[in-house]
Amino acid sequence: MFLENSSKEYDVIIIGGGITGAATARDCALRGLKTLLVERGDLCDGASGRNHGLLHSGARYAVTDPEGARECISENRILRRIASSCIDPTGGLFITLPEDSLEYQEKFIKACRDCGIDAEAITPEEALRLEPAVNPRLIGAVKVPDASVDPFRLVDANILDAVRHGADVIKFRAVTGFLKENGDVRGIVLGGSSIRARQVVIAAGIWSAHLAELGGAHIDMMPSKGSLLIFGHRLTRMVINRCRKPGNADILVPGDVVSVLGTTSDKVPFEDCEDIRATGDEVSLLLQEGINLVPELSTTRIIRAYAGVRPLVVADKAASGRNVSRGIVLLDHELRDGIKGLITITGGKLTTCRLMAEMATDLVCEKLGLKIPCTTAEKRLPGSKVRKSGKDPVHKRAAVGRHGSEADIMDFNAKGAGEIICECEQVTRAEIEYSVKNLGVRSISDLRRHTRVGMGTCQGSFCISRVAKVLAEVLGTPDKADELVKDYLQERWKGMSPVLWGDTLREAEYMHKVHRK
């Protein structure tokens, strides 16, 4: 259940509503633990919502990090099955350009095969036939089982499953401290109130360092900023990678109806993490590199630029972000720091979220003296149930595309339920009502994360007032509509302004004329 506060005592409290926390909450709930997840903002507000949305096959890491690659391919296969509604099995293509080397491609194929990743070399002609938009200068290409994953929906699905198995969720409340007895953690403090639990798991991405500090432990983390660009439509069917040592802006992912190009990698101070935004220099860098993958990026509208922070745990003294271990980091603070009741799970990748959750939950169970097997690899997530095939009505198709079988519990029969409220992304009233009811949505930005409302090419110019009106009605605060619009536009502006030229500037002029009276 979504709660404002709780006086219950829990087996486990998980801090962080990103993918790691959500997956851990699901695993704990599925194993029958009394579970609470606490998130200071909305679900998927941090790095989980600010990445490529790439379901790695592991190919990208095969040469440099075979262990990570093996984890990826194994989790890739599991997620395709249990989270089918969040995944678009696009496949991936690693292209070799004349400035790269075919020797590396050979090494890459071998490394993939050693890790159990299907990697099939195809001719440049075949690659261009599959993907007419890729750089025609390519001299080699390899097909791998990469895919596109919607991180927002993956978090939602995990949360929904956790809630449906008895877990509680508190959003929009920050953990300000820990309940401590004899140096051991016995729960959390949320401002004025506290909630007791037998185990607390920190799963808060880059903010884990700060939380561990509050709990009395120290984790040496390094915030690594990654900036990305969103282009207005799908330029390719497959994920496109450069076949070389991983570098800047060398992945293009077809995510839902857009293309996402990324990423950069720069060390930033902790204080920057709260309001992270892409800079003009990063946009230039991304474009310069991106056009080597797909030249058409140079003439395609950029809808927005955004940035996230990778939670890298420092394992050595490397200065820049990319060589630091991105492997899964599970810290048993009892063993490590003598603090009973506290665990941190961080590092890792979106692709390995389920595995991270399994590892963290195994440790929780061990601490609680329980032996309950993990079932998250077998049980399908909400939305990924097998649906009867057959044509859905037009106004329902986008909802099915986003939420899979969950769309079947949306009420499309009520009066006005099928009305499209956000036209770019074809979001209906039924979908908005579902999100408010099931996912604790409060603002348009929250709604956006769960439905794609306002994520389209107009970024809300045309229909955001209508969205606000419907949302305010559903929330039962019809007089708050204008406020919802204001917050939303301010947030959109953050991503639009670094790419304010061409059609995006035209859109901005229209947006200003409509909304700034």
Binding site: G280, S497, L500, G502, L505, E509, Y510, K513
Partner: protein, 207 residues
């Protein structure tokens, strides 16, 4: 085709200028590439209610004798050798048919209607390649507060005091800019109308 005046742009400024000029008995042609930002933001809310009204301003001009080219745009202009005079212009639809007039009004608006076009490195005016005032540093094109006045709104073509367009430092003596295409403080609807009227008055003084 020969007219007294050719108005480029069918928004508020262009329609106002054409209306004044036609009212004074001039033979006016107006090119409206699509409807305008004003139409988009002030138009009727429901398409079912008034399917005909987005064109009401242009229809009224037609009724006044203005030759209105809907959905057509001026794509090319021939200037005199010294660059101080527009001799003829050409439109996308009319192709090689020369469009001749004594004076021209540039009322193509800003970015929305592509009166000026921006790209990553700058801003240009697409018909005459007129001089455009803009901030060279892209980081200064916007205010981080969405609701604040935005620097990009001040971008536009340079003109002399009479509103004549400047290209390469040379005043084009029969090309008058009106409305949002102008550089400087963004105009209110009333401001746009009065700049359209002003351009018409200047033209009637001289041409």
């Amino acid at each position: 085709m020969t007219y007294d005046i050719i108005v480029i742009g069918g928004g508020l400024a262009g329609c106002t200028a054409a209306d004044v000029l036609a009212g004074a008995g001039k033979k006016v042609a107006l090119f409206a590439e699509g409807l305008s930002l004003h139409d988009a933001t002030e138009g009727p809310a429901s398409p079912k209610a008034q399917a005909r009204s987005p064109y009401s301003a242009l229809s009224a001009l037609s009724a006044k004798g203005v030759t209105v080219f809907r959905g057509d745009s001026i794509v090319k202009a021939d200037l005199s050798d010294d660059g101080s005079h527009v001799v003829r212009v050409f439109s996308r639809n009319l192709g090689d048919e020369p469009l001749v007039a004594g004076a021209f009004v540039l009322a193509t608006g800003k970015f929305f209607s592509r009166g000026i076009i921006s790209y990553m490195g700058g801003v240009f005016e697409p018909v005459f390649d007129a001089d455009v005032e803009f901030e060279p540093d892209h980081g200064k094109w916007f205010d981080t507060d969405f609701f604040a006045p935005q620097p990009y709104e001040r971008f536009g073509v340079r003109t002399d005091e009479a509103g004549r367009v400047i290209k390469g430092g040379i005043i084009i003596d029969n090309l008058y800019a009106a409305g949002q295409v102008l550089a400087g403080e963004p105009l209110s609807d009333e401001g746009i109308e009065s700049s359209g009227r002003a351009a018409a008055m200047e033209i009637m003084k001289k041409w």
